[in-house]
Amino acid sequence: MVKHTKPKGFYDEFLRKAPEGGPAAGTTHYCPGCGHGTVHKLIAEAIEDMNIGDRTIFLSPVGCSVFAYYYMDAGNIQCAHGRAPAVGTGVIRTRDDAIVISYQGDGDLAAIGTAEIVHAANRGENMAVFFVNNAIYGMTGGQLAPTSLLGQTTATTPFGRLQEREGGPIHMAEVIDALDGPVFVERTTLSNAAGVMKTRKAVRQALSNQVERRGFSFVEILSPCPVGWKMTPVQSRVWMKEEMEKNFEVKKFRDRDHVTRSSGRMNLMDDDALLELLLPAEGKEAVSTAKLEEELRVKICGFGGQGVLSAGTLLANAAIVDGLEATWLPSYGPEMRGGTANASVVISSLPVGSPVIARPTALLAMNGPSLDSFEDDVVSGGLIIVNSSLVKQKVKRDDVKVIYAPVSAMASEAGFIKGANIVMLALYLLNAEAPSLDGLKSVIPRLIKKKELVDVNLKLIDRAEEFNKG
């Protein structure tokens, strides 16, 4: 009876080397004696034995194993260099049933991908990471890797790696073991048959951790690169034993009994829950179903801290409450206060094509520089409302409607100078086709985070109405 043969976790034919099939369609693209094929085999065997092929997502890295998707009969994603753990995070958080395997080499995981692996491990994402460490950049021609040994000659360290010049080899299993998130961390070696069998066990442990949803599992596998090391396959295994394993301790660092953890996936809301979240106030229906002939493009500008962006969200939400479509696009500098800021709000009866505004139909200028910057952009026949408390200059154009309103002073008189944006917004709504002022009033209790400020904001709307009447 057949005891060991090509595992079913592999495709029947490998079309990388032989796109047309034929005898060569059974061979990998790996060099003679390479460790990748062995690791692939151990994973494929485990996938078959555990019967998880249909729900395994195998993440291929960049490096020699970039073509792993030609071999593994699973869901395959080829990831940007070093980003496999980030991709895996996305997969596991959207597919509860997925078994995520991140297969990475040392250039991928320990150089360009250090941020992704460290943080995925720290979060304890449900994934099995197989880190194939061959202490060299194999694919690109044998350059120094983060894991190259001190003294090791490579294409870029012809006189050997020097601590003072290139730093020492990074011991990734130890790095991962320093974090609290992972449940299983082990380093194994492919230098001999016993090591291969221990690797086999570790691979299966890491995958069964995934089936049982026990958390992040990391297996670092010391692996030969005979071509990169300029050795025969047999010599390379001797070198691993004599040099590599002295530097990279082969051991099980961690195997925690761990409770089954959730996937970290957020519960999807049903339509009712979503509606409840987005409605302006509990139980409130849309105030009106206004129809607009043409879209409104409102630019609200001022200093950071004047509530420009908040005014934008209030306006957009008021429009949505009125049954309209709306977008809100903020633009601001790095300063939270005192920089310049503007919000673009597009309101339409139809879905909004672009949230970017080149020609506003209305400009709400909270300060002087804003008026200077955007006055010329307003469409002919448009509306400009000027905060005359701060803006001393007059609008130069005569083809637009202009309202000068001391909104800062009005807010200040009401004892709440930060409410100038609400006064400005209310004045706009009183002079615009849509949305309705009632829409704004209904969103304020939901969107103003400090509840004690709700009343004063509503009062400011009344003041704006008085001002508008003249």
Binding site: H4, G26, G33, G37, K41, V196, P233, V234, R237
Partner: protein
């Protein structure tokens, strides 16, 4: 190839072997050796020639190629 015999043995798909010799070095019973023929990939494939095989599977696991070796366990004698 494909002949079913009662004894433990290893079937070699010689077309796929890259002649790395790792199985030759690994086999505790020295059942495998590099043959003299050259396959389509340009390598001298490994060949099985022994009656000592225990079907332990070591050659299968250390072999870097997925499809070269198949280990057959014979019927109990």
């Amino acid at each position: 190839m494909g002949v079913i015999v009662a004894e433990n043995h290893v079937e070699v798909n010689a077309d796929l072997c890259k002649s790395c010799r790792v199985c030759v070095e690994t086999c505790p019973k020295h059942c495998l050796e590099i043959g003299s023929g050259i396959n389509a990939l340009g390598y001298q494939a490994v060949r099985f020639d022994s009656e000592e095989c225990t079907a332990c599977g070591m050659c299968f696991y250390v072999c870097p190629e997925p499809g070269v070796l198949t280990v057959i366990k014979g019927a109990d004698k």
